[in-house]
């Protein structure tokens, strides 16, 4: 049976690709792994390898055509075989439908979004030698990396220098070695890390993606940040009481996550995504928790946060943080959050402007708890106050709505017993 080759989806953000050039024509025999076309995405140009073996029955689009991802662009089968009649000219509308379903929330990490064009031989050699293809300069006709590029680009460094560079995230490609034929020694790395000289530290994949997404967020989303104060005395007292009575040591953050989930239930608009054509109020409330790791910022989420109890939020969060720092999170834990929380309270920060994790509608910044003097019944009393900083997408949410959400949230936090019901 004839099978289609589809426009590949290289990275969650990719919606369409351009067929720069077909390298095969109808009637050609191809086998699995053959490069059949060059495709351009919004990020890069890449070779499209066939995952099928057979005869090219039909090329559905000519060179230069933009085609939505996952749509068939060619049919491969036995010579003379017919292709399914309805295929070949998929309607744009259908395509959009597919896309909307597909617009689950973009994930924070995606290894495929950094796919690099390389020949199979180049990939094999690189994998054998443990060389990162991203460090290789391509010389292939179409900008792809060929085997020789990998061999030539292999950075000459001593065994120890390689280990130290990898450990300290030093990019060997940026270093000129002092040894024979510019071989890199540890002393050359140290030159990079001495205090008087600039130090160049290669971005981790997570940092690259986070950076791109944060930039995209600030450049494309009209963001507004609102601060509000919360009286924390009741919550602190309750937390103490829970600990005394049950031995469960919940954190302030657990209360905030739970309160936010409950507030989102009452303000669904804050739990939405924007897809250029519509606002999609998400069914699930999955709160993402920003975790700083050695490799960069990751935002794993607690699925259906609103169904959790204080105790379960505590254990789930702890587990997520531990695994985030160990780099052991599953992809699905890193994609699909509907609202994010970023807590900088432990750093004594009193206010900040968090950046929205697109395509979410808002992000809640949590600050430190401060002791302030307050007038209570005409007497000066010491009170604990915390500020929350909410950034929201003004296309989805307006100021009144965001403020109402904050008031609800503050109400939960100031009367935390309600969270336990």
């Amino acid at each position: 049976m004839a099978e289609p080759i589809i426009m590949p989806k290289s990275g969650m953000a990719m919606e369409e690709g351009v067929i720069i050039e077909w390298f095969v024509k109808e009637g050609d025999q191809i086998k699995e792994g053959d490069v059949i076309a060059q495709i351009e995405t919004d990020k890069t140009t890449m070779d499209l390898e066939s995952d099928l073996t057979g005869t090219v029955l039909k090329l559905l689009y000519s060179d230069g055509t933009t085609v939505p991802v996952t749509l068939p662009i060619a049919w491969i089968g036995k010579k003379g075989e017919a292709i399914p009649a309805a295929e070949g000219t998929a309607k744009k509308e259908e395509v959009k439908e597919v896309l909307q379903e597909e617009v689950k929330l973009p994930i924070t990490i995606s290894s495929s979004s950094t796919k690099i064009a390389a020949t199979p031989a180049a990939k094999t050699v690189a994998s054998e030698k443990g060389i990162d293809l991203a460090t290789i300069k391509p010389t292939g006709k179409w900008g792809e990396i060929v085997k020789n590029d990998v061999l030539a680009g292999e950075i000459k460094a001593t065994a120890l220098a390689k280990k130290v560079a990898s450990d300290q995230s030093i990019d060997l490609a940026e270093i000129e070695g002092s040894g024979y034929q510019k071989k890199i020694y540890v002393r050359d790395l140290q030159r990079v890390t001495t205090a008087t000289e600039d130090r160049r530290v290669a971005l981790t994949n997570i940092q690259k993606i986070t950076g791109k997404r944060m930039l995209e967020s600030v450049l494309t989303i009209p963001q507004v940040t609102e601060d509000i104060s919360v009286k924390m005395d009741n919550l602190l007292a309750l937390r103490e009481e829970i600990f005394e009575q049950s031995g469960i040591k919940s954190s302030i953050n657990d209360f905030i996550i739970l309160a936010t989930a409950r507030a989102l239930e009452l303000h669904r608009r804050l739990n939405s995504v924007f897809d250029n054509h519509a606002i999609i109020e998400k069914g699930e409330i999955n709160i993402g928790v920003a975790v700083a790791t050695d490799r960069g910022l990751v935002v794993p989420h607690i699925k259906n946060t609103n169904t959790h109890t204080l105790a379960s939020i505590n254990s789930v969060t702890k587990d997520l943080i531990v695994r985030a720092r160990e780099g052991k999170l599953a992809l699905e834990e890193l994609s699909g959050s509907t609202f994010s929380i970023s807590n900088v309270g432990m750093y004594k920060i009193t206010s900040f402007t968090p950046i929205i994790n697109p395509p979410e509608a808002a992000i809640l910044g949590v600050n430190t708890i401060e002791k302030v003097l307050a007038l209570v019944d005409g007497n000066v009393r010491e009170k604990s106050v915390m500020r929350l900083s909410l950034t929201f997408d003004h296309r989805i949410v307006d100021g009144a709505e965001a403020s109402q959400f904050l008031l609800t949230l503050v109400d939960f936090l100031e009367n935390p017993l309600r969270l336990l019901i």
Partner: protein
């Protein structure tokens, strides 16, 4: 004024001088080498080589002694040493090597003069016969001489230095060695094997100061087997000369009689090429050079023992090569950057029937830096086939590494022929191979060398010939 003009005058024909001269000449410089004795320096004439000649005799004696257990029946097991013949044999070897150096110098067209030389100006060197040479650069490689210590009666005719003892015409009955460093220990091993009754007197708390304690232990055992008496933390307070022998009074209250006393304390830089006419900076009686080998005068370089940095022939070779390179850069003969003298990874070896060989930081030194999570892999030679088949079960190879990257911080060996395996450790350390690469390389079997692989493997828990 002179009419001889040279690119370089090298003062001293030892390891730093002759290598520097040959290299510079091969690179196209016109070189004159002034040597007051014969080329080859302390190492070749009165140091490393002649002592190794005698150490080989120690091995021969040891082999004779072990013969019986191997079924080699020697009817009359007694032997005596004919020192005259021994010295003659030593001289033959030395002469052959000196000829070799002379050949290399000639081949490179280095003009060699058998004269003392002094520096009388930035570009002027005066020879003993009054000839003044005008030169663009000067390499001071005048080496070192035996140092002395203030001991009452040290002018006794029974006292010799490490040079004179090489030309003895008789075997001393009782040899007292003042100084338990490398020189003292080597001579103690040689003469105790030859049949002398040897006593070593060392001022510091242990023999071979600076070496790994376990290494010193192995060599000490060997000396003990040869009935060498060792006094540590002890000094000689007085030497009284009698007709046939001298009496040494020791700080520990003891006294001993000897018919030969070897003064084997430190060596000191030979600064005789320096004159009052033209000042070059010295510090604590050594020639001061920077990392490129340049003295306080920009066209005058120094290399080898005269710099007092690390008085070893192989260090002198390295300095000679680096300095010749740098002078040739000055002369425009080379277009490459100047070379630094690196003395961070320098092996050292002590010879006796068994040897000790070291490079890098000892476990203690590494711990003192507080920079490393230290892992030591020690493989005993009692588990090494080559060593055992030669009747030696003493010794070990010890790798001091750090856990994080497996970096090799030091290698310390003691045992049969271990001087021959330290080179691998030097290459590994210099070129940053870690214990992982050493453990992963196939080493020939059966060799002593294998023990280095095993020690590296112990560091990463992958040694299958030792441990559990």
């Amino acid at each position: 004024m002179s009419n001889i003009k040279k690119d370089i005058v090298v003062i001293g024909g030892g390891p730093a001088g002759y290598i520097g001269a040959i290299k510079a000449a091969r690179l196209g410089a016109s070189v004159l080498l002034a040597e007051k004795k014969q080329v080859g320096g302390t190492c070749l004439n009165i140091g490393c080589i002649p002592t190794k000649y005698f150490v080989q005799s120690v091995h021969t004696i040891s082999a004779l002694r072990n013969g019986a257990s191997r079924g080699i029946e020697i009817t009359d097991p007694s032997f005596t040493i004919d020192m005259k013949k021994a010295v003659k044999g030593k001289d033959k070897t030395v002469k052959r090597l000196v000829k070799g150096v002379e050949f290399l110098l000639n081949q490179a067209k280095v003009e060699t003069v058998n004269q003392k030389a002094t520096i009388i100006g930035k570009n002027l060197v005066k020879l003993e016969d009054g000839t003044v040479i005008e030169t663009k650069n000067i390499l001071i490689a005048s080496g070192s001489v035996s140092a002395t210590v203030p001991i009452e009666g040290l002018d006794s005719p029974f006292v010799v230095d490490s040079e004179k003892i090489l030309d003895l015409e008789y075997l001393p009955k009782k040899l007292a060695i003042i100084g338990g460093g490398v020189i003292g220990v080597e001579f103690a091993s040689i003469f105790s094997s030859f049949g002398s009754e040897v006593t070593v007197i060392e001022a510091l708390p242990s023999l071979l100061n600076g070496f790994d304690e376990e290494q010193v232990e192995v060599l000490s055992k060997g000396l003990k087997k040869n009935k060498v008496t060792v006094y540590t933390s002890t000094t000689v307070t007085k030497i009284e000369t009698h007709t046939d022998e001298a009496t040494l009074s020791l700080s520990n209250g003891k006294s001993l009689n000897s018919d030969l006393i070897l003064l084997a304390v430190k060596r000191k830089a030979n600064l005789s090429p320096l004159t009052d006419e033209f000042k070059i900076k010295t510090d604590k009686n050594r020639l001061v050079i920077n990392e490129y080998g340049v003295t306080s005068v920009d066209n005058i370089y120094g290399g080898g023992d005269v710099t007092g940095l690390n008085m070893l022939a192989h260090v002198a070779y390295h300095m000679g090569e680096a300095v010749a390179h740098n002078i040739c850069v000055d002369l425009g003969l080379l277009k490459t950057p100047k070379q630094k003298i690196r003395l961070d990874i320098v092996p050292s070896v002590v010879y006796s029937d068994l040897e000790i060989a070291s490079v890098g930081m000892t476990e203690k030194e590494a711990a003192a830096t507080k920079k490393y999570d230290i892992v030591v892999g020690k493989f005993p030679l009692s588990a090494n086939g080559r060593s055992l088949s030669a009747d030696f079960s003493e010794g070990f190879v010890k790798v001091v590494s750090e856990r994080k990257y497996g970096q090799i911080l030091g290698v310390f060996c003691a045992g049969l022929n271990v001087s021959e395996i330290i080179g691998e450790a030097v290459v590994a350390m210099q070129h940053e191979l870690t214990v992982y690469e050493i453990a992963d390389s196939i080493h020939a079997h059966p060799t002593i060398n294998e023990a280095l692989k095993e020690a590296a493997a112990i560091c990463i828990g992958q040694c299958y010939h030792w441990g559990s």
